[in-house]
């Protein structure tokens, strides 16, 4: 377990009064409180450190133990007892305090004490809501196209969630009650999931609309015709008007991305034609083009 200087965390010296500690905590809490720093993981972490320091230093008994025993303050009673035994039975080769609990016990202790992130100086046994959890879920664009279920592992607990079609990159959804447990019987916090969507398709997405290019041969562009293009919902036949120009954009209504939580509603698909010039022309073809150019 690493030694954490709680005085340094709160920016006070070791002779600070209870009032100094309270003021320092309040000042730092106002700066780093998660409510005032939404979606800021660093601020959240800092706030937990401040809380941890305050919890120890604001309690005179804990502060005394911390001053005397540093990182082992939590085992102060056991250490003192052990020391007394050593004094009395030193000739019997009594062993020193062995720790008992691993480093993790320290974090767990604080995790249970500081689950709230929203407890504080009210000085009463109020019920506190548990801390909110934040998680990032990576999805492919093709997966986000359909409503599907995924199982998440949140602090060892499996949560099965339904992801509605149409979630966007960076979108955050809230799962009520899946955060840290509350203290003193308070409600659980919430779980906030941020979606990180990787594009595994040839389409570009902007909100609910999709964009793609389609190659068009010169003859179809000039004379018109029909081509087949792929969309996320399958193949679509498209009529090409005669004399279609390069970079012309057409809209396929309702062939875009599903609108989030609006069943049956879709954005549009925009196709930009890219006309491909014929290559390796035969002499006869060149003649025909020459004739055409003179007509």
């Amino acid at each position: 377990m690493e030694y954490v200087d709680y005085y340094k965390t709160l920016g006070v010296n070791k002779t600070a009064s209870a009032e100094d500690i309270k003021n320092a905590y309040r000042k730092l809490a106002r700066k780093h409180h998660p409510d005032l720093n939404p979606n800021d993981k660093e601020a959240n972490k800092k706030f937990q450190q401040i809380n941890e320091a305050n919890e120890v230093l604001s309690d005179p008994a804990n502060r005394k133990k911390y001053d005397e025993h540093g990182k082992d303050w939590k085992h102060a009673d056991e250490i003192n007892k052990q020391r007394q035994q050593q004094r009395h039975y030193s000739n019997q080769g009594a062993q020193g305090f062995a720790g008992g609990e691993g480093d993790d016990a320290f974090s767990d202790f604080f995790a249970s004490m500081f689950g709230g992130g929203d407890r504080g100086g009210r000085g009463r046994q109020a019920k506190y809501r548990g801390q909110d959890y934040n998680a990032e879920l990576h999805l492919n664009l093709s997966e986000a196209y359909k409503t599907h279920q995924q199982t998440l592992d949140v602090n060892g607990k499996k949560i099965r969630i339904t992801i509605p079609a149409g979630v966007e990159n960076g979108q955050v959804i809230k799962l009520n009650g899946h955060g840290a447990p509350g203290t003193n019987g308070g409600p659980n916090g919430d779980l906030f999931i941020t979606f990180a969507i990787n594009n595994d398709t040839r389409f570009k997405r902007l909100k609910n609309d999709l964009y793609a290019n389609a190659d068009l041969d010169l003859y179809t562009a000039v004379l018109g015709g029909e081509i087949t293009i792929d969309t996320l919902s399958g193949k679509v036949k498209l009529k090409v008007k005669p004399e279609t120009q390069n970079d012309v954009k057409i809209k396929l209504k309702g062939k875009g991305f599903p609108v989030y939580k609006k069943e049956g509603e879709f954005g549009d698909l925009f196709i930009t034609y890219s006309i491909k010039m014929p290559v390796n022309l035969t002499d006869r073809q060149k003649e025909l083009f020459t004739e055409l150019s003179k007509s």
């Binding site: 409180h33 939404p38 504080g120 990159n169 570009k204 902007l206």
Partner: protein
């Protein structure tokens, strides 16, 4: 009614003064639903209300401060949404390059 919590119950549960809830309403920071005798809180607004309670009781921020912070947080949230939108737009053009 199933999505409503009596304001009295909220105050008892969170050990806050009823006058605080009333003041929040006066400042337009929360909306209470009234019946003949009782005021209720919409369960969907509970998260926001809990936040206001924390700002006041845990951080010693007065109502004027809470009002200002609420406006600023709304702006932060709007800007975060805009950043997401702009990032997504940017990636659209980056894919083109």
């Amino acid at each position: 009614m199933e999505n409503l919590i009596p304001a009295d119950d909220f105050c008892t549960y969170y050990k806050v003064e009823y006058s605080f809830i009333n003041s929040l309403e006066e400042y337009g920071l929360i909306e209470l639903i009234r019946t003949e005798k009782t005021k209720f809180i919409d369960i969907n607004k509970l998260h926001d209300l809990e936040k206001l309670v924390r700002l006041h009781y845990d951080l010693d921020i007065n109502l004027e401060g809470i009002e200002a912070i609420t406006h600023l947080l709304q702006r932060v949230e709007d800007m975060q949404q805009e950043i997401i939108l702009l990032r997504n737009k940017l990636s659209l053009y980056e894919q083109t390059l």
